[in-house]
Amino acid sequence: METIAVYWEPRIKTYGFQRIPDLALIEFSCPLSNIKSLGEIFSQDHLEIFRPKFIIAQESAHKISFIFCLPNKEGKDFHATLKKTSSSTTEKYIYPVGIIFFHGPHFGDRYGIADATFSTLSKAGIKIIASGCSSASVFLVLAQHDIDKAEEVLSETFEVAK
């Protein structure tokens, strides 16, 4: 396999920060033994109207927990749909939250991106509600009122490529 080295940047370059404000976060879980039936529910045509802006799932204690972020109206409807099913249990509904996300060259292959992100937010006293990093993207779910400050401090750490 060919290996290509990516130079260390004194200031990590990103393609820019994007935001999605005014979202609802829904946390729900299901026992691992019910994952097939929950999947069948998600596969139903009428759920196609829901367009989550962020999804993560974590496994723990024989359960899988999902965190979805959707626009608030969709979030309420999705929450109501989940309540009708016996496959999952809704644990939390948080509104309003916002997402700030960014990506950069080979972010998924380079060390130091997560540290630059989390240390910057931690130093600024910004609490992360949820985060998911996959491929070359970093997604941060924050309290709505923290989004401006987060973009400000992250813009000092990362360089937005021109």
């Binding site: 260390w8 691992l32 994952i35 799932a57 990506h103 949820a130």
Partner: protein
């Protein structure tokens, strides 16, 4: 029935996974762990963090399999994690990333149900703007891929499923 269209899929190289769980602490765990790994030049290829579950925090991440021992040692060293934090790890994990055009919930549902029917586990999920990544058992990556290929319609000129180039962070500083 017409197959659901997807833009493509990609397999990861061999990875391993760590799940760190513990009670709320004054330490910012995501920041602390990412700093510990940075010091060893270890990249997290996949990460989910959720500190809201009944005051329990969970940080899950995947790194290259050859960094498993070094990372275990770092995390288990006294003082690395707050007292009482639990570490669970899998020595082998792999990621399948799907590039959907739309219908993320439908794709999620179809994969959850069809993988469960084939006893293929899901250890983690994360989305980006245009992709969904599923963490599963590395040994089952080809089987999991086959299930997806049977269920979804992919472009005819699809890029190779397995990575052909490995990118690594160099220590050489690039000056503008």
């Amino acid at each position: 029935m017409e197959k659901l269209k997807i833009g493509g899929l990609k397999q990861s190289l061999e990875l391993c996974q760590f799940d760190l769980r513990g009670l709320d602490s004054s330490e910012e765990i995501a920041s602390k762990v990412s700093k510990l790994l940075l010091a060893q030049k270890i990249n997290m290829e996949f990460l989910t963090f959720y500190p809201q579950r009944n005051n329990y925090h969970q940080l899950t991440f995947c790194i290259s399999q050859d960094k498993f021992s070094a990372t275990s040692e770092i995390l288990r060293k006294e003082g690395s994690l707050p007292i009482g934090w639990e570490i669970n790890s899998s020595e082998q994990a792999g990621i399948i990333t799907i590039f959907p055009h739309q219908s993320a919930i439908m794709i999620l549902g179809v994969i959850m149900s069809s993988w469960a029917a084939q006893s293929i586990p899901i250890y983690g999920i994360a989305t980006s703007l245009s992709a969904i990544s599923f963490v599963t058992d590395y040994k089952l990556l080809d089987k999991a891929t086959k299930v997806i290929q049977d269920l979804f319609q992919m472009p005819e000129d699809h890029a190779p499923l397995k990575p052909e180039i490995r990118y690594q962070q160099s220590d050489i500083v690039k000056e503008d």
